[in-house]
Symmetry: C2
Subunit: 353 residues, 2 copies
């Protein structure tokens, strides 16, 4: 879409904006990545000054681009595009559309990101609804992809079927092998699940894909096993699952801390293992994963965790630059063509009761 390598960063997205965003921009700029910080100039300039940055005309890697409005978590995503035309998030998408930036990064309202993506980038032809894809680490088998993790709370079979194809292309582009795809359910037997998951199971079983092998249903207990490479679900379940993973991980750290602090002996063990624990914590930290791409729109947009710190957000900027350079779009377009029959069959299915 653009020859520029600059990344448009929504400076008023995350829970701790704009402090975290400004610091992330500085980190990225120091690492050689040009960033356009988008938001209220009067609030951004003093914040940059605190970090010793007095030029923001792009010369030192940072440009401030003014936007007078802000999208909050309370905003209704479908309305923001009309009601807040000068919102920092929306202006980021405008910059990409005009060729002034290569990709958007925001830690803001993910529903609003979806709406901005739809209205400013447009859907990829043949995709009904874009989705947010997230990856998480596993002890064996490399990262696993979860799609959708929040963009589409209520889904039809066609949506999940398209998520399967997009997730598979995303996984194979990143990891270079034909992925195994599973549909998240409450049991592994075909009869389990909801009307929605059963329809998707039927469709993916009946239409073998050139892009992935269909495994069938997977359960939450399969997340960290090397069972599949892509887990397909609606945005409500995906979001709950992702946050349960995060919550469980930090819960276990709490239990572990209590176990280590019990006696002098266990404290010694804890002391010895401290570097290993720290490395483990970094490996599991959702922050280290940086950002989740919005797939199915005609442009690169990365959604970061609302609570992301500066390092995580800088990671999101790096991922955005990487995706913009690689451009998944041609592979996605080809896959959409390859799955025409599957998509047509899915559209013939009724939406779940």
């Amino acid at each position: 879409m653009a020859a520029t390598r600059k990344i448009a960063l929504d400076a008023f997205g995350g829970d701790h904006c704009p402090f975290v965003e400004v610091e992330a921009a500085v980190l990225a700029a120091r690492a050689g990545q040009e960033v356009i910080l988008v938001g209220d100039r009067a609030r951004l300039v003093p914040q940059l000054a605190l970090l010793g940055i007095s030029r923001y005309d792009g010369e030192d890697g940072i440009t401030v681009h003014h936007a007078s409005e802000t999208i909050t978590m309370e905003d209704t995503p479908s309305k923001v595009v009309r009601s807040k035309p000068d919102a920092s998030m929306l202006v980021c998408f405008d910059l990409v559309r005009r060729g002034q930036a290569a990709a958007v990064v925001s830690a803001g309202n993910s529903g609003a990101m979806l709406a901005c993506g739809l209205f400013r980038f447009g859907r990829l032809k043949g995709i009904d609804r874009p989705a947010i894809v997230s990856s998480f680490p596993r002890p064996k088998g490399g990262p696993c992809v979860l799609i959708d993790m929040g963009a589409n709370v209520e889904c039809k079979p066609i949506n999940l079927v398209q998520f399967a194809v997009m997730g598979a292309i995303f996984s194979s582009t990143a990891h270079g092998k034909k992925p195994r795809v599973g549909v998240l359910s409450n049991g592994s037997e075909e009869g389990k699940g909801t009307d929605l998951t059963r329809a998707v199971h039927r469709l993916l079983s009946a239409h073998p894909s050139p892009a992935f092998s269909f495994h069938g249903y997977v359960e939450g207990k399969d997340f960290f096993k090397d069972t599949v490479d892509v887990i397909v679900t609606d945005g409500f379940t995906g979001n709950v699952a992702l946050k349960v993973m995060e919550g469980t991980a930090s819960g276990i750290v709490g239990f572990l801390r209590a176990a280590v602090m019990q006696t002098a002996r266990t404290k010694l063990g804890g002391l010895i293992l401290r570097p290993a624990f720290r490395a483990l914590g970094e490996q599991l930290d959702p922050d280290s994963y940086g950002g989740a791409p919005l797939l199915g729109v005609d442009g690169v947009a990365i959604i970061c965790h609302g609570g992301a710190g500066p390092k995580a957000l800088a990671g999101g900027i790096r991922i955005a630059a990487d995706y913009a350079a690689r451009d998944l779009t041609p592979a996605l377009r080809a896959a959409i063509g390859d799955h025409r029959e599957l998509f047509a069959a899915a559209k013939r299915e009724e939406s779940p009761a």
Copy 2:
């Protein structure tokens, strides 16, 4: 319902039946709990003989009660009651109905447990659909209750509202304080969630309960925080969430093992911490929680994990005996009366689109 203290154990429920069930019955009997093992006598008797048990007429704490059929995970729950009248699970419910046992325990098909409960025990008057309630440990704040974790895959507002009331009574009976109740969603803001969760949020906000305080939405990341005592959700999401917790816990154990095995130094730390790790593993082990009661039917039925080992299943038997002795039913009946207005308002809500 019955003066007997005997527990009816479905000997053909779990993934490793009847070996695990027979061993669990022997463990329970040794601990002084009388058990009726229900299932194919010709397969149970030799299995008991292998464990040195030659009397199964109740004298040594174990009775074998023959049942010729078995319910599998592939069976359609709504059909088993008619199609398999002599199924071991169903016969357990018959024993309780006839006053020959105090409660049912099974590690089998949870949908079939629900169907058997509905057809043999009947619903508590005023409850539309029973639910399965599960508890999990937290570093602080005591166990948290999750309802429904699998019985009702597709729910209406009235169902979740009733789950909130039943979960609250279950929690307060177990822990003696007025519980805080939250509805599981994909964000904490009121506008988040599905049509279903928004309707439930509205209803619980508009009708303050004498039995619990309503917190609003909770997310997966709140599971291990001391935010609420009861988490309300539909059976699909609840089942996925519970299994993601299990999967994440064992995934982290995998990461931890790899971290400990890295160097001689970390191995030493691991050796010192081994007893603490083991205690932690037991604390987190879903097996140690033994079983999940089916709430909203007029009788005690405990659903155990399909993969439960003998110790876990014996734990389920102990829990069943405990619940049968305590009998939640009067407290539930009183609560149903106290929430008539809330339930009436919920029934006026449309079912989600």
